[in-house]
């Protein structure tokens, strides 16, 4: 649909939060908690912070939680009983204040979770989620969205994109049908297009590499020594994968007592030694350099090739969170140059 532009005054946004909440929505927004900016539920607009670059962890958990129950089971003399998760019980969720890169991340996740099997848990959660993003007026050295087809004011992936302008009011760009339905429901809060020049209120993020060329190059780099060089200092934790808005790997576990239990899925990471180990004991990715290669090639070769999307939105979280300063954009520039 064609993007509609409206004015959403700051006072109207405050009211919107109250109204959406009283209509039963769970509203997740960024909040400052000690040293971190985290997405958590808010009760009023005042609970939210606007002074942040990106949250420490991505908001992907609203559709892909760190632990998700798949089914309950019990075993008795009558047999085995299974009961799947009640999809209808998932609450309607609004994510307010995610960044354009975060919204972009959901597009990558959706591609993964619908590649072959249609993942109903993810799809159902996302279906009930409305993304009201706020474009970026600030950036830091780790941001590189413009190198991976993103932009501080990109509307892609968002249902509504807000851009704050002089005085604290917002330009609201209504991107999807879901966004449109929301503006129609709360129509009194949305006013006529303020007619501002949006770009004036956006951070400037200079592109660092040319991604199409990089994707092409990655296809022939499986045996390149660069993976060993780059990953010598990688210690093999999962921090990068767990803060990443597009990493989708999970591990299925049965947590059971004697006769009943639940099947859950938990975040997993290709950086872990156990990730690809076979029953025989053989591990095709025995060392960290092979796992690092997998991480980069999955995002910049396999996903573009199979799913038509780049598996990276340039949010820079992996590099901020990395305990040993593995800086993804620096490594990508290096790969483009070798």
């Amino acid at each position: 649909m064609e993007i509609e532009r409206k004015l959403l005054k700051r006072s109207s946004l405050e009211r919107l939060v109250d109204m959406m909440r009283s209509d039963g929505n769970m509203i997740y927004a960024p909040q400052k908690k000690e040293t971190q900016v985290v997405f958590d539920t808010i009760e009023t607009f005042a609970d939210m912070t606007e002074d942040y670059i990106v949250s420490n962890q991505s908001p992907k958990f609203v559709a892909f939680p760190k632990i998700e129950k798949i089914l309950d089971f019990s075993i008795s003399q009558e047999g085995i009983r299974q009961e799947g998760t009640q999809l209808a019980a998932f609450p309607p969720v609004v994510v307010l204040g995610c960044r354009p890169c975060d919204a972009d991340g959901f597009d990558s996740l959706t591609a993964i979770f619908n590649w072959d099997y249609k993942d109903e848990l993810y799809n159902e959660r996302l279906k009930r989620t409305t993304l009201i993003s706020i474009s970026c007026a600030q950036k830091d050295d780790y941001c590189f969205c413009t190198s991976v087809k993103g932009h501080p004011g990109s509307t892609r992936g968002s249902d509504i994109l807000l851009t704050r302008f002089d005085g604290g009011d917002y330009l609201a760009e209504i991107v999807t049908e879901k966004g449109k339905a929301l503006t129609e429901k709360y129509a009194a809060l949305f006013e006529a297009d303020p007619g501002i020049e949006k770009d004036k209120f956006l951070a400037e993020v200079k592109p660092r590499f040319e991604v199409e060329g990089l994707v092409q190059k990655c296809m022939g780099m499986f045996e390149h020594p660069v993976w060993i060089e780059q990953s010598l200092r990688c210690i093999g934790c999962g921090a990068c994968a767990y803060v990443c808005p597009t990493c989708a790997c999970f591990d299925i576990q049965d947590e059971a007592a004697v006769s009943k239990g639940e099947r859950i899925r938990c975040w997993d990471s290709c950086g872990f030694g156990l990730f690809t180990i076979h029953t025989s004991g053989h591990n095709p990715r025995e060392v960290q350099s092979q796992r690092w290669r997998q991480r980069v090639l999955h995002k910049f070769s396999y996903m573009p090739e199979r799913l038509g999307v780049i598996g990276c939105v340039g949010c820079g979280r992996c590099s901020r969170a990395c305990p040993v300063d593995m800086n993804l954009s620096e490594h990508l520039i290096n790969i483009a140059e070798v």
Partner: protein
């Protein structure tokens, strides 16, 4: 640190080491580990107060280990890690050349572990005043308050295992959390799974932790997880008079028995 660069260059030129593990400038004002493989790589080496990562973690890393003899820029926590893992038969004097850095920032070299042990015996290796204060605050809490405190802190845990990966003493190729036939501890980062993981890790480090604090620095969600193992450092000192990482010949505290141990259930 021109002296450090010069020394590293010499060692690489004379092929006395295959690699020097040190610190270099990183991104956004951070420092990072660097692996100097050629004499000219020594130019990248730096040392200043930002260089905190415990580099000893790399001595046991597969790809680094297989390079050959390793030179390492070593502050006190790195030296102590080396002695500790040596006492656990993971490293010998032949594997490592220590380029020590004193608390004053001076280069100091040791001919083997004995002189390093001797020098360390004259250094303050205890917890800092600030770290002791943090522990005292926890000790002052009631059992219920401690439970609530850790429940809140651990609720942020995402089980990325950065605490484990950053720790030189966590060198096991297959950690107990990876024992999955059957699963020893829950994989899920829920209350049970996170508590079990962190309590078991703290127990595995009792008598082994050298209080570098790397686990807490590595945590991407800022859980002060080092306080658990620091508590173990204090308890082990109080109960057994043992300080880890000062003696390459030390017996493993939790798997050795001495007639004068306070507990006598094992007799």
């Amino acid at each position: 640190m021109d002296e450090l660069k010069q020394k590293a260059k010499e060692l690489l030129e004379k092929q006395q080491v295959a690699v020097i593990i040190g610190y270099a400038e990183g991104t956004a004002g951070r420092t990072r580990a660097v692996f100097a493989l050629k004499p000219e790589d020594s130019e990248k080496l730096i040392f200043d107060e930002r260089c905190k990562q415990n580099l000893a973690v790399y001595l046991m890393k597969h790809e680094v280990k297989h390079l050959g003899r390793r030179g390492i820029v070593a502050t006190i926590p790195v030296m102590r890690s080396i002695l500790q893992v040596a006492s656990e038969y993971q490293l010998t004097e032949a594997d490592v050349h220590v380029l020590g850095i004193t608390p004053e920032g001076k280069l100091i070299e040791f001919d083997g572990f004995k002189p390093m042990e001797h020098w360390l015996s004259g250094q303050d290796v205890g917890l800092s005043a600030g770290e002791k204060d943090e522990l005292a605050k926890l000790d002052g809490m009631s059992m219920e308050e401690k439970w609530a405190y850790w429940k809140d802190e651990l609720s942020r845990c995402i089980k990325c295992y950065a605490c484990r990966a950053a720790c030189p003493m966590c060198y096991c190729i297959r950690c107990f959390v990876e024992s999955n036939r059957p699963q020893w501890i829950p994989i899920a980062a829920n209350d049970l799974g996170s508590f079990e993981w962190h309590i078991l890790r703290a127990m595995h480090l009792a008598g082994r932790c050298i209080n570098c604090g790397e686990c807490g620095r590595a945590c991407p969600v800022d859980i002060p997880i080092h306080l658990l193992t620091f508590k173990g450092v204090m308890d082990v000192e109080a109960d057994f008079g043992v300080t880890a990482g000062l003696d390459a010949g030390m017996e493993s505290l939790l798997s050795s028995f001495k007639p004068n141990d306070k507990e006598n259930f094992i007799r």
